[in-house]
Structure formats: C-alpha cells, structure tokens
C-alpha cells in the first residue's frame, strides 16, 4: 500500500462514518415527523393484550355503566375512549368523535370526573357515546395503561386490544389506522 492510497483511505473512513451517522439521524427524524417513530411512545405488546377486568358505574348510577364482560361480548369491534370534562384536548376531540361514532360503536369512560360535569359535557352538543362509564378514582384507567386523557382503544370481539392511541382522535387517524383494523376483524 502506497502512502497516498493509505492517506486517501484514512480520509474516507471519517467521511463515510459521518455520512452514515447523518443518514441514521435523517431516517430517525423523518420517521419522527411522519409519526412512524415516537421515542416517547407508550408501547404495549400488540396483538395479544386483553382488556383488564373492570366494572364501572355509569353517570347516573351503578346500573348504566359497563364492565369487561359487556365489552368483550360485543359481536363487532368497539372503540373505547377515555375522556374528561376538564380536559381541553377532549373538548377539541368531540366533533371528530361524533363523526367517528357514525362508523363504529363508541363507548366512553369518564376519567377522574364528577358525574354531573361529565354528563353536562357530553350532552352539550349531543353525546357521541353509545354507553358511558365513570372511572372516578382513575384506577381502572391505570389498569388499561392510560397516561392521560384523551386516549382510545380499539376492542375486537373477545376483548382483545387491537389498537391503542394516546392522543386525540381525528378523521384521518381513524381512517388510516383504526378502520382497517376494525374491518379486518371477522
């Protein structure tokens, strides 16, 4: 090996290394931008996660809430949405939820809310929810892996969690991620 080829090689190595590192960073940043990679994502093992066992009262009494059995006995996929009347993103999400509720049954769980506040909140412009339960202590939400409202879960028959999103829903997200999964269930 002559001196000049060796020198050239030594020059190429750091350039190639920097290029590779740059490519890696670009891949990571572009994935973060289009949403396919989120380093802060709260991931759960997909596919086999079942809903936790729970039984919650409704907004007007213990009779109109729902429990794990009622949720898993559905013949069709159900979208479960955790919300609260004190949560601003939930207010913003409501319009989209009303649209989504026309395409899939939507069940709501009020998180750390007073029943009267939650009732006023969902009935103000027409409730998108087919059924509503109240998780006053927030302990059921923790069992579901909820870190903050609004969060939504797609529950397929048998009580399996097919999808979990920790942000407010909108039509685009619903069409892109949730609807294909819901349609895929027999």
């Amino acid at each position: 090996m002559t001196i000049s080829t060796r020198r050239r090689l030594l020059m190429t190595l750091p350039v190639a290394g920097a290029g590779l590192a740059g490519f890696g960073c670009w891949r990571m940043l572009s994935a973060m931008q289009d949403g396919s990679f989120d380093p802060h994502a709260i991931r759960r093992d997909k596919g086999d996660a079942l809903i936790p066992d729970f039984a919650l009262p409704g907004l007007s009494g213990p009779d109109d809430g729902f429990d794990a059995a009622a949720l898993s006995q559905n013949a069709k996929p159900v979208l479960v949405n955790f919300f609260a009347s004190w949560c601003i993103p939930c207010v913003a999400e409501m319009a989209a939820l009303r649209e989504i509720a026309r395409q899939i049954p939507l069940w709501g769980i009020a998180y750390k809310d007073k029943p009267e506040d939650a009732r006023r909140f969902i009935t103000r412009d027409g409730s998108p929810y087919e059924r509503v339960a109240l998780d006053r202590s927030g302990m059921t939400a923790i069992d579901w892996g909820v870190s903050g409202v609004p969060e939504s879960f797609l529950i397929v028959p048998g009580g399996r969690i097919a999808w979990h999103g920790a942000s407010a829903l909108d039509e685009t997200l619903f069409r892109r991620e949730i609807l294909p999964l819901a349609n895929a269930t027999p």
Binding site: H40, I42, R44, G148
Partner: protein
Amino acid sequence: MKKLAVLASLAIGLCVMALPARALDDPSEMLPNPTQEKRAEAIGAQLRCLVCQNESIEDSSASLARDLRHVVRQHVAAGESNQQIMAWMTQRYGEFIRLKPRLAASTLLLWAMPVLALALGGILATLMLRRPRKTEPLDDQEKKRLAELLREQEITR
C-alpha cells in the same frame, strides 16, 4: 385565656407545617411498615412519570404519579416482588416507564456503547501511536540544498 388558645393553635399550626416534605402528598398514603415503604420508594424511583417524562413518580406531583405511587404501595403491601411490580407496570405502560432501560436485544447497542466507544478510541490511539515516525534520509540533492541554505544564513548573519 383567649391569648393562650391563640398561641396554642399557632404552635399546632407551625408543627403541622414543619412536617417533613415528602413525595407523598398525603402522609397517610405511606405504608405503616418502614421497610415496605422504603421498598415502595425505591420502586417508584425507577418508574417514569408519564406526564412529566423526565421525573420519577416519587419526584413528580402530577396526579397520575400520585395514583401510580398508590398502586405501587398496594402491590408492595400485597407482598409482590420488585420484579412482579415492574412487570405489571411495563405490561401496561411499556418499556418506556422504566427510567433505566432493561438489557434486551433492542437496547444492546445502548448498553454496549461505552465499551464500544472505549474500544474504538483505543484502536484509533494505537493506530496513531504506532504510525512510523521515521523520516526518509535526505538524498544527495536535498543534502546539497540544505548545505546551501545553511551557508546563505551564515552569510546574512
């Protein structure tokens, strides 16, 4: 008599205020058994508060952190091991809830990075140190030129 009552209530108020500030907002949340409480605090220090993501649930005052502290204490009181409680948490909130990532295939590069960086540095350093320092001896022409240069310098001096 009235003055005494005011003084007494003031004293009581001061005593309450002087209670040590703890992560738990409500001291009644603490486990009665000090060893168990210590264990719960150690587990909580390893769990990320998912609201203010760079704090542990023991340090955070978010309401979710308060609820999670309560859950940890429930599990500790039920006699579960640290591993069982961490598994319960990661099952629900994913690996992200661990402030200290677990050694797994996906985190291998992360954990191996200090060793890798040290090895790379070592290799680079040995390569640099081993590089031959010998210079080529001057050939006749170069010797002549050097002698000329030295002579020129003598003359100008």
